[in-house]
């Protein structure tokens, strides 16, 4: 039984934590939250120099060629630091789409640039409010020209290219969905920044008007690829959420120890103690489910779809729970702009929506459990 990260893997995670503690303090997150820029370009370059952007990219394509386990630990530190960079879009999604469906030429063209941070990729998916299902994908792509509108695309304003889900002809079925790679700097693309609940991560509407697009993966295999890549991204994002949950819990604990009321630390009141204990419980459940997902992802186990959903559901619940109650423990001060509590609250709710809602994943988890006819 060795259900644990190796010492080398942990060492890499510690290195990332130290680096981010130094280069990405809350002030750096606030700079993006409050400023005109939509990401921290210097931090992004630094992370690239550390090799963190190409952890799981094979060496031939310019990556470190390490496993997903290392990438999980890097993602956890990104979440803990609320890093205001396109990590989830470019590393957890765009890179994975290329690895999963890209042609050799596309991999050679893009993976090295993604690993070096020179190129930023993202995934353009939702077209309207509500759950994203095959029938909601109505963007059209014919003769290499893509037309349609995608909303709230993470890092849409700064991305070099986007993986875009579209159809060859109007329709509703999953088999009609194909993926395309569209360079966002080119013609026929209009990017419109959109205000979101977490301005520390930029989002934009992408309007495509006969924009040049090349196919990514086999035609009509788009939806299957999306599901495969989302399972991987779900595990990796879960670690981002786990990192955020742990940090929010630590903040609340530290404040409860320092803050005095009625002549005693507020952390000596059972109402606060038990609130924190419950936060610890959900953070622990999330981490253990995350390990389950990491194991399935790294070993390519058949349980991956179920393990990914478990990790995603537990991590989303934990980060939202810990970020929400971190504000409650801080009381009025927790609701000030000056305190950092809202940074975690914003991010927890953003990550709960990126990659599909909690309710969608809850439904998927049980559907998949049933498919495997296993109940944990």
């Amino acid at each position: 039984m060795n259900f644990e990260f190796s010492d080398d893997q942990k060492a890499l995670g510690d290195q990332a934590r130290r680096y981010l503690a130094d280069k990405c303090p809350p002030s750096a997150v606030r700079a993006v939250l409050e400023g005109p820029q939509t990401y921290d370009a210097a931090l992004w370059r630094g992370l690239a120099d550390m090799g963190f952007l190409g952890v799981a990219i094979p060496e031939p394509y310019g990556g470190l060629g390490l496993s997903y386990l290392e990438l999980c630990l890097i993602a956890e530190e990104m979440g803990r630091a609320l890093a205001p960079v396109p990590f989830s879009s470019s590393v957890l999604l765009a890179t994975e789409f290329l690895l999963a469906a890209g042609s050799e030429a596309q991999k050679i063209a893009w993976l090295p640039r993604l690993a070096s941070g020179e190129a930023i990729g993202t995934f353009a998916f939702a077209e309207r409010p509500g759950a994203v299902t095959p029938r909601t994908i109505q963007a059209l792509c014919a003769q290499g020209r893509l037309t349609g509108v995608k909303l709230a695309v993470p890092d849409g304003e700064i991305a070099t290219f986007a993986v875009v889900a579209a159809r060859a002809a109007p329709g509703l079925d999953a088999r009609g969905v194909s993926l395309h790679l569209v360079e966002l700097g080119g013609e026929g693309v209009t990017r419109t920044p959109q205000d979101t609940i977490d301005p520390s991560r930029g989002h934009a509407q992408l309007a495509f008007e006969a924009a040049p697009a090349e196919p990514l993966g086999a035609a009509r295999e788009g939806w299957a690829t999306i599901e495969r890549v989302f399972d991987r991204a779900a595990v990796l994002t879960a670690f981002e959420q786990i990192g955020g949950a742990d940090r929010a819990l630590e903040m609340a604990r530290d404040y409860a120890l320092d803050r005095m009321a009625f002549g005693r630390p507020i952390g000596s009141f059972q109402a606060i103690k038990h609130m924190l204990a419950d936060m610890y419980v959900s953070a622990t459940l999330a981490r253990s489910n995350g390990y389950y997902g990491a194991w399935a992802l790294a070993t390519g186990a058949a349980e991956l779809p179920q393990a990914a959903a478990s990790a995603r559901v537990a991590a989303t619940q934990a980060f939202q729970h810990c970020a929400k109650n971190n504000i409650q423990v801080h009381g009025g001060m927790g609701f000030t702009w000056a305190f950092d509590c809202h940074l975690f609250y914003r991010r927890s709710n953003l990550l709960a929506l990126n990659l599909g809602s909690l309710s969608t994943w809850e439904d998927a988890l049980i559907t998949r459990m049933r498919a495997r006819n296993t109940a944990a």
């Binding site: 509500g130 994203v132 909303l151 205000d195 002549g263 409650q328 000030t336 702009w337 929506l353 990126n354």
Partner: protein, 417 residues
């Protein structure tokens, strides 16, 4: 059992409705209906000017502060008449936001502790909105421990009998536009904390007062920090005896909990409306059994609060005092609104991240709820304080162990480490 007015109530309602139809600023109606969460969506007009104009008009016709005595600018109405007026005033009531604290908390305190001359001088312009009042109680070190305040009031060195105030208050709504404020201070740090407090009222333009807005987590600024440096207050503006400040402030706080607790919004009607318009993977949200099973619990909380309010109104209508059941209002509404906001985002999927009112579903109402609801769970008593209040005052359970009870204030530990 019925929801009908008594004969007397019906007469009053008809009279109120007639006057409102004839006099309300109907040009603001649309904007007021679109407003929410304390910010008025009134384009091209000065909300403060409109608010003062409407309040002055009401006062002139005898419709201001209805439950106050006539001689102080009120109408001498019964509590139920006040409620009926609120129902009839409807959205125009939102204009009165800037007066809530003055009318709901400062007025009653003056009524109870000011001299007759002071009441005749200050209450009528307070009722008519000509002068605005604020409340200066909370402090950075205080939080839920209100009585732990540190702002000092000391006798001036001269023989004037005046007091000199030094310290800082926080979470003061409307300080920037208030003419007067009621202020609780510590006049004796050598006695247990509840015993060394004294209440005053003061001119908010007094020299030595500095007001700084607090930027909130949701980006708005509804509150202020107020700094006091040798601010001079005549002893005549003391409310209650020296050392009685806690007793005096309880008058104010009781009124605060009442006004905040009643008729809290849960966001359920808005959510239900969204579910009738948005789709999940299983079709229209309201037709999705998974959605319905979540909605049901919030639905009965919303109706539960609504009819709990009706029970209170019935008591008022009978001239009785409402029971303790009203104390659950904010404790239920706050967390429910937060849960509802999160679920409404969930239903919107990726689009749920968009907060721009011009693009987001329901004019970004749920994104605003998401960012505002954490404050609801804290302001005017945290969820935890409210549970203590219900446990102690309603269920009669013992108070928490108080390590600072009989300790001189200046000997209460102020740091944990």
């Amino acid at each position: 059992m019925n929801f009908d007015d008594t004969a007397g109530e019906a007469v009053f309602r008809a009279e109120a409705r007639r006057w409102i139809d004839a006099n309300a600023p109907s040009h603001l109606k649309a904007g007021l209906e679109a407003s929410g969460f304390g910010n008025l969506a009134l384009d091209g007009v000065d909300p403060m000017a409109e608010a003062k104009a409407w309040q002055a008009k009401k006062a002139a016709a005898g419709w201001a502060c209805l439950h106050w005595p006539r001689e102080y600018g009120g109408r001498g109405s019964t509590p139920i008449e006040r409620v009926i007026w609120g129902q009839e005033e409807g959205v125009y009531g939102a204009l009165g936001g800037v007066f809530i604290i003055g009318h709901g908390m400062c007025g009653p305190t003056l009524m109870a502790f000011a001299t007759e001359d002071q009441k005749r001088r200050y209450l009528p312009p307070l009722a008519s909105g000509e002068e605005i009042w604020c409340q200066l109680f909370s402090e950075p070190a205080g939080g839920s421990d209100l009585a732990g305040l540190r702002t000092r009031a000391e006798p001036a060195a001269d023989a004037s009998g005046d007091w000199l105030v030094n310290g800082q208050k926080i979470w003061t709504s409307g300080a920037q536009y208030s003419d007067f404020g009621i202020l609780v201070t510590r006049t004796d740090p050598a006695v247990p904390k509840h015993k060394g407090l004294t209440m005053f009222f003061l001119d908010m333009r007094s020299p030595g007062i500095e007001i700084r807005p607090i930027k909130q987590a949701n980006g708005q600024s509804g509150f202020n920090e107020v700094y006091f440096t040798d601010v001079r207050i005549p002893d005549a503006q003391r409310l209650g005896a020296v050392g009685d400040g806690w007793k005096v402030s309880l008058t104010t706080l009781m009124n605060e909990r009442l006004s905040i607790g009643s008729g809290m919004s849960t966001g359920f009607p808005e959510l239900f409306d969204l579910c009738c318009r948005i789709e999940t993977a299983n079709g229209l949200a309201v037709d999705d059994p998974a959605v319905r099973s979540k909605l049901a619990t919030w639905a009965v909380r919303a109706t539960g609060l609504k009819y709990t309010g009706f029970r209170a109104l019935s008591a008022l209508s009978r001239g009785e005092t409402p029971g303790p059941e009203n104390s659950i209002g904010k404790l239920v509404a706050g967390p429910t609104m937060q849960e509802i906001a999160m679920f409404a985002e969930d239903l919107q999927g990726q689009a749920g991240v968009i907060s721009d009112p011009d693009i987001a579903a329901a004019h970004g109402r749920f994104q605003a709820m998401l960012m505002r609801s954490p404050a609801t769970r804290v302001e005017g008593g945290t969820d935890e304080i409210l549970r203590n209040i219900i446990a102690e005052r309603v269920l009669g359970l013992p108070p928490d162990i108080r390590v600072d009870k009989d300790v001189p204030f200046n000997q209460i530990p102020t740091s944990a480490r």
